[in-house]
Each structure stands twice: as C-alpha cells, then as structure tokens.
C-alpha cells in the first residue's frame, strides 16, 4: 500500500531559508519545492512524535454563490476514502497507530493535520498524502457526511453564542462569502453534491496553493530522503486567482433573536481590517487595552469586575485575508442586557475620544511582547504559527520583528486606530435572549 520508497536525489529548491531565533523560539527551515509547495520544518526532539499541518489556501471565502459550506464539506470529505483505501481501512490503520488525522476549513484556509508517533511516521504519511491528493469521495459516505453536517448545524442552535455570531456576520457583510457560516446553512448544505466537492478539491488542493509545516521529532534525512520525494509527485495545479469584494453594513441596527435562555448573548461590532493592514499592530495594542487583556481590560474591569454583569466580555479584531469584523461579545442575565450594551458602547466611545494612559500603553506592550513565546507551547501551535506566517506573508523573521512592531505604537496611534476602526454609530448589535425578560420585545 505504501508508495515505493525512492532514494532519489533531492534538489529541493528554489529557496531554502532557515532561521533560528533569538529568544529560544523554535527554529524553522523553509523550502519551496518545484511544484510550488512551501515546506516549513521545525525539528524538536524532546518528544517522540511528529505533527504535520497542511494548510490549503481555500476556505469559506471560496464557497460558490449559493454553495455555503462547500469548503467545509470538502475538507471533511477528503477523509472518507483515498486511493485504494476505504474509509474503514483508513480509520483502522490510523487508529492502530494511535495517530490522529483531521481536516477542517475556516473562512480563509483549510487545514489537514496528522499527529503520529515517530516510529509510525512512514506508515501514516502515505495515508496522509493519499487523503490530500487522491481522495475518492465515495458517494454513500459523502451522503452520510452531508446528513451529519445538517444535524450538527441543527444542534448548534443550542449554543446561543454561536447563534449570535452567525446573525452578526450575516448582517455585517452585505453579501459575499465572509457573511455566511463556514459550515453552511441547512438550505445550502442540502444542495451540495459529490460532484461539486470533487471539482472544488481538484481546483484548490494543489501544491502551489498549499503550505506544509512539519514539527517535532523528525530529522533532515527523513525529510530529504523520505518526505520530499513523495511531496514532489503531487502535480502542480492551476488554482484561479480570485479576489473578494468586501462590503460592510454601515447602518446602525439591532437584531433581536428570541430564545428560551437565562442569559442574553450579545455581539456588538462593525467592519474591521485585513491581516495585511499596516494598522494591525496598533489595533492589537488598542484592543488589548479595550477588551483582550483577560481580567484587566477596560471592558472586563467595568462590566465584570465593577458591575458584576458578566463572566466573560472581550473584544477582538478578526483580521483575515480580507477585512474581518471588529466585535465585542458578552453574556449577561436577560434583565441586564440593556445595561451591558450601554456600558459597552460607553467604553467604545471613550476609546475613540481620549488618549489611553501611558501606563495602559506600557502594560499592553509588555504583555504582547512578553507573551509572544507562549505561542509555541505545543507542536500544533508551532505548526500553525509558521503556516500563518507564510500565508499572511509576515516573513520568517516575524518573531524577531514583532517586538519593534508593537513597541513602535504610540498613544496617538491607539487613538487614531480606535477612531478609524471602531464605529458605534455604524455598528451591528445582536442580542440572543429571552427578549421579554430582557425588556427588548
């Protein structure tokens, strides 16, 4: 079953860059293969296992019109059968090794990952490659996958936070693929077909549209001698270049959804920024002060610590390939919904109207810079970190540059980005609550 091992020569190349870092961050080596695949390798031998993370640059952003859920279903369906193996054979073989393989999509990209003991690596890797490059999408299994997806979508209605998120994105984006949920809707998923999945896979799952990170107990010899020859057999594709137009709602509105719950789940936000926006770092500092600094942010301080209205309240910029939302989310008992919304709005206004203090700015910088190494706490976090660095074009020296990107932010920058990217007057508010108890009927 395994592909024959060729001892072949490896002129890997186009570019080999390697970087070992300053603060004990993990080293990484970057190689671009002839077929366009970017290979990122970070060796770490303290534990006898390997994590492989293939990022395919397709996600819900590439769902066709009326095909919401296409990227998500394609991801879960690659695991249903591949090359000569049935679903059952794949699962039996991987489970026997105690290996874990998974595939899922988000708005921007798809991740297929494998975690396996070093001793089983050469048994598991061919399965991984077949799943990615030669999935068979067996009709009966795809049909089952679709009905499971539909049930999962229905089940998620029991999560009021998720219901609020979906309503928020739908209202915020005036059309376009970021406005629909990655998993699709009951209506859209019911109409997805095996043929559409095959076609989507053929178009997007190509080496020149993908980034492979390999982290853990693997050495250069095994990469050059074993992995690369197999990776090179993956034929280059022709994924079409596609740009997405993002249009945000700028009309202030409140969407109320009635549910028999004890807490109102609230999302407030507006159109935000893309990951490549030069203001990204200033916005990170600003957002830390506003609502990302766990127990110590302004929102937490006011809404949780002072008023006791919520267990959790936070704000975030979902900076994606294309502009994502800025959003605040919280939960509070139904009858405090109005007070919590008002308090949130006041904090947003304050962020826009006055300079943050020197101390707030310094604390934010110290945390953001000092906490950076925590991003490397596990193999899978390292793998996904390097994949994202590559995907968003941040450069392999990103960890070295990061402190200066953050430390260069001034109080004036913070105020400027607050004014530029937080718009209470153009915001969408979603409240999922027992509306009667919340006084919002």
């Amino acid at each position: 079953m395994r592909r024959t091992a060729s001892s072949a020569c490896i002129a890997l190349l186009c570019v080999v860059a390697s970087w070992t870092c300053a603060f004990g961050l993990p080293p990484v080596q970057r190689t671009v293969l002839d077929n366009g695949l970017v290979l990122l390798v970070s060796e770490e031998h303290s534990l006898p296992f390997v994590t492989i993370n293939l990022m395919v640059k397709t996600g819900a952003k590439d769902d066709p019109p009326f095909g919401a859920g296409q990227a998500g279903l394609t991801a879960s369906s690659v695991l249903l059968g591949a090359a000569g193996r049935t679903l059952k054979q794949i699962n039996e073989e991987l489970d026997f090794m105690g290996a874990n393989m998974s595939a899922s999509a988000n708005k921007d990209y798809t991740t297929v990952s494998l975690r396996v003991l070093k001793k089983d690596f050469e048994r598991a890797f061919p399965i991984f490659m077949d799943v990615v490059t030669k999935p068979t999408f067996p009709a009966d299994e795809v049909k089952k996958e679709i009905s499971r997806t539909l049930a999962a979508i229905q089940s998620s209605e029991d999560r009021p936070g998720r219901v609020a998120d979906r309503a928020f994105e739908k209202a915020l984006y005036l059309g376009g693929p970021y406005g629909h949920p990655t998993e699709g809707t009951v209506e859209s998923v019911s109409k997805l077909t095996r043929e559409a999945i095959r076609e989507f896979h053929g178009l997007h799952y190509c080496p020149d549209n993908a980034i492979l990170s390999v982290v853990g107990d693997i050495d250069q010899r095994s990469i050059d001698g074993y992995m690369v020859p197999r990776l090179k057999k993956w034929p280059k594709g022709s994924t079409p270049e596609k740009r997405i137009e993002i249009k945000f709602s700028t009309r202030k509105e409140t969407i109320k959804i009635n549910k028999p719950v004890t807490q109102s789940n609230i999302v407030i936000g507006n159109g935000g920024m893309s990951r490549d926006n030069p203001d990204y770092y200033a916005a990170q500092v600003m957002n830390y002060i506003l609502g990302a600094g766990s127990l110590t942010s302004r929102l937490m301080e006011d809404i949780r610590n002072r008023r006791g209205l919520a267990y959790s309240v936070a704000s975030t910029f979902e900076a994606r390939k294309y502009p994502g939302p800025f959003m605040v989310f919280l939960q509070t008992k139904n009858r405090s919904a109005t007070e919590a919304i008002k308090a949130t709005m006041e904090n947003l206004e304050r962020m826009r109207s006055e300079l943050v203090s020197e101390k707030e700015l310094e604390d934010a910088k110290k945390y953001l810079v000092g906490n950076f190494p925590q991003r490397f706490s596990t193999q899978s976090r390292i793998a996904s970190f390097f994949a994202q660095v590559e995907y968003y074009g941040l450069g392999l020296d990103y960890p070295e540059k990061y402190p200066s990107l953050i430390n260069g932010v001034t109080r004036e920058d913070v105020l400027r980005v607050a004014r530029a990217y937080i718009h209470p007057d153009e915001s969408v508010t979603v409240v999922v609550a027992n509306l009667k108890e919340a006084g919002l009927e």
Binding site: D95, S156, T185, T296, Y367
Partner: protein
C-alpha cells in the same frame, strides 16, 4: 479519547472564543504522562525526572525540569474541591477561587493578574470536585514573580464584603453560561445528582444557584482558613529552571507560612444501588441525548485500567465500536463517547453517551448502546482490536505531554488522586489488560443494577432557526 478525571469547575476570564480550561484539556492531560521523556514500560519513568521536596512547614514542592523552551509553569494546588463542601453551601470552593483574585493587604483587587500580564505571563485557576488550582505560565526568567504572589495570597487574602457581592454575581453569570443555557450540561448535572446519594459528587462543582446566592464572606473565610494551608497544598513547577536556583526562592517565599493542619479528607462512599436509576430531563433543545453511567473504582483498583481500555474500545478514534456502529453504520447518533473517571479521588463513574440524530429516538440509541455493552460481556475482544486500543491510549499519553502546562497538570492530578508516582503505572497497567479482563470487568460493572440513565427529551422551542457542530461537552472544570 477515553478518560479519567474528576469533575472540576473554572474561574476566569475567558471568552466565547474558548480559552476556558474545559474537561477536554484535563482529560488529555490526564491521559498524558510525564514529560519529555517517555514513560514506557522499559524506558525512563516519571519518577526519574521529577523531584519532590517538602519544606519544613509541610508544603510539598514537585519539580520537573524541561529545558526545551525558556518557559515555566508555576502552579499551586490545594486539596479542596466540591467534595469538601456541605449541602446548602455547594460551590464554595469555586467561589473562593474567584475571590483569590480580589487581593491581599499587599496586592489590590485584580492586581495579581495585572502584574502577571505586565510580565508577559498568563494566569488563571480552576476548581474541580477534588482540587482548586492556580497557575501562571511565564518566561523562565520571571519565575520569581508568581512565587511571590502565590505565597502572598496563600496566607494574606482579604475577602472584602464589597468584592464578594460583585463576584457572586459574576459566578451566577458563569453558572447561567455553563449550565442553565446548555441542555447537555444540565443533563450531566442531573445525572450526577441521582448517581451519587452519599458522596459529595452529588452536587455540581459550581454549586446550586440557591447556594451561590446564600453563602457569606464568613463562610469563605472559614473555608480559606481550613484548606489554604501548606499542609493541605502542594506546588508544581515545570519547565526551564534550575532546581538549585529556584528552590531557595520558593523556600524564602513559602517557608515562613505556618503549616496549619491537614483537614480530614475522608468521605463516605456510595452504597451499591438497589436497581437501575433513570431520569428524564425535558428542556428546550434541538437533539435528544442519552447518557448511561456506571459506578466504578478509581485508579486505586486495577479494574480501573481495564475500564480505560473498554472506554477506548468503545469510542477512541473513528474505527471504535460506538463510532463505527452508532455513528457510521446505523446512523443513529451525531456523536458518541465513552468516558472513564480514572484519576479521581473517590470512586466515580464510567459513562457512555450519544447525541441522537434527528428522526431517531433515544430508545433506539439506548438499545444500540446496550448491545455494544452486551458484546463486550459475551464475546472476547480480538487481539488486534485490543492492541489497537492500547496503542491509542499509549500514543495519547505521549501526545498529551506536548506542553509543560499539561505535564504539570498530569503530575498534579495524580498527586491529588493518589500520588504523582502513579502516573508511571498508566502505560504498564494498560498493556497488562487481557481479553479475559475486558469481559470480566464488563460483566462486573456494566450491569443494569449499577446503572444510572439520563435522557434529554427536547421540548421544541417556539421559534426554530437553523445553523455548526460540536457539543458544549461536559464541563468538569470551572474557572
């Protein structure tokens, strides 16, 4: 994965985006072992890499050096959880955990977390049935900071009335979020409440809402004074440090704290059930759900490891029995799981559960679950299938050693339940399980008179609107 673990509940921060330390984390941790050296039957044992020092005041310090990255996790574990509470004051341990962030004479409210954050660290805490734990994940060069702060709040907590009043509201919001508005969480809470009539596992870690509303600062002060003493706590430090350098810092910070008296930890155990117990929860929900739990021994008895293997046979991986039969072949369930509470201070539960697909009934799913249990009792498991389950458990144990945080959690949860040295028992004990053991243990414990069944019957809600997968899962830790 299968699992282990006692039931915790979590404190803090944490957002929808899910930073909450959930059961999953704990499970994984417990399934994990040791360290950057594997615990294999033939290889190095945890005991060879962990060292233990006890200060003069009885405070145990457990140290695990791991130099792969310049990071440390510093953790203080108190041997107190909901099992130490009394009826009418349930959730008190968790409430106290929240109050531990409200300041001492030296450190103002929320100042603790602010100082940790200024130093680039992350801190949080969690409470379970069996323990209350506090942690700081820091750069290695900042290790002294959490040492100083933790020693300060071990003895100097202020517990101010006004802070308590506000924080009580926060905990009520937490309970609404975790439990009231999650049909599955309500189901699990109800199940525990009828499974345990004598043991304090009867009540939820976060406490009943009425109790949260009832207790006073006086109750908290008493709880703090009784349980937050060196004789009832231990420290775990894992990561990039040198023992010779760090021990004097710990000694200096904690050494002068009066030892206190270790409280009596004995709890009466359940009497055997006189017959199957069943409950129905009727609540607004999308899907029906069923959970069947059986009283089982914890890691102190060898059968508990056989139950680990049984849980793996049933639900570890896509090819496991419940996944293959209920999810794939018969298409009865959206998801299934089998859990074994191995690393638990008192005997706990083994459970199987399923979320029922639309158009199917809980009755049919229950019959299918029972058929799988019957199969375990009647037909010997094949060698290859048994080997597969063991491989999965062992690999899972290895994978879960990924972070120093998880390594520290593993050590600590074993230390709470019995001794951190028992983590070394895990892999050999799993490897020793035979097909005959599986059959015998299934016949002994997975029987109707030892079973508690809880069913969620959905009441359709007035407005239906569709839309992602994943269930809230059982919340065992509360932050």
């Amino acid at each position: 994965m299968t699992n282990t673990s006692t039931a915790p509940t979590i404190k803090d921060t944490v957002s929808l985006m899910g930073v909450v330390v959930k059961r999953l984390l704990l499970l994984v941790c417990l399934g994990a072992a040791g360290v950057l050296f594997l615990i294999s039957p033939a290889g190095a044992a945890l005991a060879d890499h962990v060292s233990e020092v006890t200060l003069a005041n009885g405070l145990k310090v457990i140290l695990l050096e791991n130099h792969k990255a310049p990071l440390v996790t510093f953790q203080v574990w108190y041997r107190v959880g909901s099992r130490d509470e009394e009826s009418g004051k349930t959730g008190l341990s968790h409430m106290l955990e929240h109050m531990m962030f409200k300041g001492t004479a030296k450190v103002g409210p929320e100042e603790f977390s602010r100082i940790i954050a200024q130093n680039g660290g992350d801190d949080n805490a969690f409470t379970s049935t069996d323990f209350t734990a506090y942690f700081e994940n820091m750069s290695a060069d900042r290790v002294k900071i959490p040492i100083g702060l933790e020693s300060d709040r071990m003895r100097g907590l202020l517990l101010r009335e006004e802070d308590f009043k506000t924080e009580r509201s926060v905990v009520m919001e937490e309970r609404r979020m975790r439990t009231e508005d999650s049909p599955k969480a309500v189901l699990s809470e109800q199940l525990a409440a009828i499974a345990f009539q004598i043991q304090p596992y009867h009540w939820p870690v976060i406490g009943w809402m009425q109790d949260i509303a009832r207790y006073t600062v006086g109750d908290l002060k008493k709880h703090y004074k009784t349980y937050y003493v060196p004789a009832n706590a231990f420290i775990v430090l894992a990561g990039d440090f040198k023992k010779e350098a760090v021990l004097p810092m710990i000694e200096e910070a904690f050494g002068s704290t009066p030892a206190g008296t270790a409280p009596v930890q004995w709890q009466d155990k359940e009497e055997p059930q006189l017959g199957e117990r069943r409950i129905v929860v009727r609540k607004e929900a999308q899907l029906a759900s069923i959970e069947k739990a059986y009283h089982v021994p914890n890691l102190k008895e060898p059968d508990s490891y056989v139950l680990e293997v049984i849980a793996a046979l049933l639900s570890a991986g896509e090819s496991s029995r419940l996944n293959q039969t209920l999810v794939r072949d018969k298409q009865l369930a959206l998801s299934v799981s089998a859990d074994n509470e191995l690393v638990s201070r008192d005997p706990n539960l083994f459970s199987v559960s399923a979320d029922v697909l639309p158009g199917k009934t809980a009755d049919v799913v229950e019959k299918a679950l029972l058929a799988e249990i019957k199969l375990l009792q009647e037909a010997p498991v094949g060698d290859r299938e048994l080997e597969k389950a063991k491989n999965q458990l062992e690999a899972g144990f290895t994978f879960a050693q990924d972070s120093i945080f998880a390594q520290a959690m593993l050590i600590a949860t074993y230390e709470i339940a019995s001794s951190w040295r028992d983590a070394d028992t895990y892999v050999p004990a799993i490897r020793a399980v035979s097909p005959a053991d599986v059959k015998r243990v299934a016949q002994k414990y997975l029987v109707p008179e030892n079973c508690v069944t809880a069913r969620l019957d959905p009441i359709p809600s007035a407005e239906q609107k569709p839309v992602e997968p994943g269930s809230p899962g059982k919340e065992n830790i509360v932050r």
